[in-house]
């Protein structure tokens, strides 16, 4: 997608996920992508802003590739982005990521353990590759 002829940045949107460790993982994975791994090509957006129908947020979401990270099978992030007219290019659920880490103890809603941070990094690395694909800048990673 483009805005004024320039490639738009990819929006990575986690669920609000408050009160559960999977929600915290979705949020931390998002920060890892937007602040570190794909800083040049990815932004995030506050889901509550989108839900409340903020015009600027709606406009931005409709003109960007979106990646959603949901904590649980309610898929709040994916559903609300789609409801707002956004195109979800990639959607992942944190609980699914734990299938490769049976027995892992990720921590609590307020603090992640090393197991939790391991899953954060794994999700973030996979999705930052996807960000580069969507931007057509595969050579940069």
């Amino acid at each position: 997608m483009t805005t004024n002829g320039e490639t738009a940045r990819v929006l990575v949107i986690p669920c609000s996920g408050i009160g559960k460790v999977h929600g915290l993982i979705s949020r931390e994975a998002t920060y890892e992508i937007t602040d570190n791994l794909a800083q040049a090509n990815a932004d995030t957006m506050c889901l509550a802003l989108l839900v409340m129908g903020d015009e600027e947020a709606l406009s931005k979401i409709r003109s960007s590739h979106c990646i959603t990270i949901d904590g649980c099978p309610k898929y709040c992030a994916q559903k609300n982005v789609e409801l707002a007219g956004g195109q979800v290019a990639e959607s992942i659920m944190v609980a699914e990521a734990f299938k490769n880490h049976r027995g892992a103890q990720p921590g609590t809603a307020t603090k992640l353990t090393e197991d939790g941070w391991l899953v954060v990094r794994e999700i973030a690395e996979g999705l930052s590759d996807r960000v580069q694909d969507l931007c057509g800048c595969e050579g940069e990673h």
């Binding site: 408050i18 957006m45 506050c46 509550a48 802003l49 709040c76 992030a77 809603a109």
Partner: protein, 284 residues
């Protein structure tokens, strides 16, 4: 112990104040045992939070000036007991969180300190055992209209013309709806309780009762602070049909000024006459 609140943070993401609102909310739950309300889930699945929002007063924690949580509460017509704006709290706090969305030690310390401050400022949890004084048996009289018989307590109850009663014991009172209401509504299928901890005025709403026929706001005959609600009615609202004056009580209040409230209330005998008139009008 500080009383419990339903806590609705904005749970924001892309500004520092957002993650702080989330962290303050979680720390407040740890301190007071309240319940978190996720703003996104609330918007898409409100029934999930109906019970919590019915039983607990609501505190809103907004991060930035956009005030998404406040806007959401407004759009859903939620009654808000307290609002906190993190951006304002940051201006007055001696603690300065790091400028990082993923909170560092200073951010966590700020959140913990603010949660402690809020918890200390919350009113005490009302005593759970407030009901003993209301256990004494009630004697009834009745009025009739046509084939209908309406029970009315012989003494000790006051009524307003909105068909709600109050039974006073010292500085405490229980309120509820009359036998006329339960017969008029027929099978009551839903009870919406008022919020414990809320101050209400005389003739303010204090919950709802609903049947397939109609919905009725409970109009409080007295002013005061709600200290308990009859939670048994949430799962079994038919208790109001079975026993509207005793087991079907709606809420218990700490009275503010009963002597003044009393001037606008009537006794059982006068209420009986009103019931007869209403029943006659309903037939025509």
């Amino acid at each position: 112990m500080a009383r419990k609140y339903a806590i609705l943070p904005c749970n924001g993401l892309d500004k520092l104040q957002g993650p702080l609102s989330r962290e303050v909310a979680l720390a407040l739950v740890e301190e007071t045992g309240g319940e978190i309300v996720c703003p996104v889930l609330l918007n898409s699945a409100r029934p999930r939070y109906e019970k919590i929002l019915g039983e607990l007063p609501l505190i809103i924690i907004d991060g930035c000036g956009t005030k998404c949580a406040s806007k959401l509460a407004g759009s859903l017509n939620l009654k808000v007991d307290r609002k906190v704006l993190i951006a304002d709290e940051m201006k007055t706090s001696a603690l300065t969180p790091e400028d990082s969305l993923s909170l560092g030690p200073a951010g966590l310390e700020f959140a913990k300190a603010l949660a402690t401050l809020l918890a200390e400022d919350m009113p005490e949890e009302p005593s759970a055992d407030l009901s003993a004084d209301f256990d004494s048996p009630v004697e009834y009289t009745s009025v009739t209209h046509d084939k209908f018989i309406f029970r009315i307590p012989a003494a000790g109850f006051h009524f307003n013309e909105n068909d709600c009663w109050v039974r006073v014991k010292g500085t405490r009172a229980r309120i509820g709806v009359s036998d006329y209401v339960q017969q008029n509504l027929t099978d009551i299928s839903y009870f919406g309780p008022p919020i414990v901890g809320r101050e209400i005025g005389q003739f303010d709403d204090a919950g709802t009762v609903e049947s397939v026929k109609s919905t009725m706001d409970v109009i409080s005959p007295v002013s005061g602070k709600i200290v308990a609600v009859n939670t048994a009615l949430v799962d079994n609202p038919e208790i109001i049909n079975e026993d509207p004056y005793e087991k079907g009580w709606i809420a218990e209040l700490e009275l503010t000024d009963f002597e003044s409230d009393r001037e606008l209330l009537i006794d059982g005998a006068a209420y009986g006459e009103i019931v007869k008139k209403k029943a006659a009008e309903a037939q025509h």
